[in-house]
Amino acid sequence: MIWALVALMVGATTAGEVLQAAGMRRHGEIRDFRPGAIGRALAAMARNRFVIAGVAAMAISFFALMKLLSMTDLSFAVPVSAVTYVMETVLAKYLLKERVSGLRWVGAALVICGVTLVSL
């Protein structure tokens, strides 16, 4: 049961974050942080199909996390989500076509090792 929840959370988080990144890239750089402009940006995001799908996936991931937290410790629930780093970095390269330089791969690898050590 716990591992099924972890799988659901990891899958939904990965899908949600990649969709969110794709949607926000299409939106373009947010430059104006005045309240009116932020309201307009939020309205534009609410019509962005990638963002909507991302939010739906993230909601699934959130309720899976809530259920998981009611069964296990924070120090288990949060670190297992580090698996998403590997999947998302690979998807960022192949799906989002980002240029993941050697520097970024090395940095991501260090972070994944570090997160694993912190969570053990």
Partner: protein
Amino acid sequence: MTPETARLRLKTWICTLIVVFSNPFGDYFLKRGLPDSAHLSTPLEYIAALFQPFVALGVLLLIVWQLSRMALLSWADLSYVLPVTSVGYVVVALIGKVLLHETITDRRWAGIVLIMAGVALVSGSAPSTVPRPAEPAGGSR
């Protein structure tokens, strides 16, 4: 450093700080509001749990986290945002030490050093490697 690079760097730093602190504090309050005895099985019980004060505060912080992360992704790559915002794991460990009086083992310190090294490497590179549209009309200064 050109003014454009400096502007983007400052913006990225501020936004990253908000992302990095709102997430672990959100998780912390969520956990505080949801004791192990919390009974979550029907959809209604999930909704009801959202109105417990600590859970509500946790949810509010997680909303701030999502919005600041989306703002960051509007000008930075996912493969940049992921490692750089992982400083959150360091914040979680420090919250455990300061607020919950947990001890940080040597292994966890080693992990923290590795995370910080990874973040230092990636954060020096340009945030975006893909073309992005200018913000829609009315949104830019």
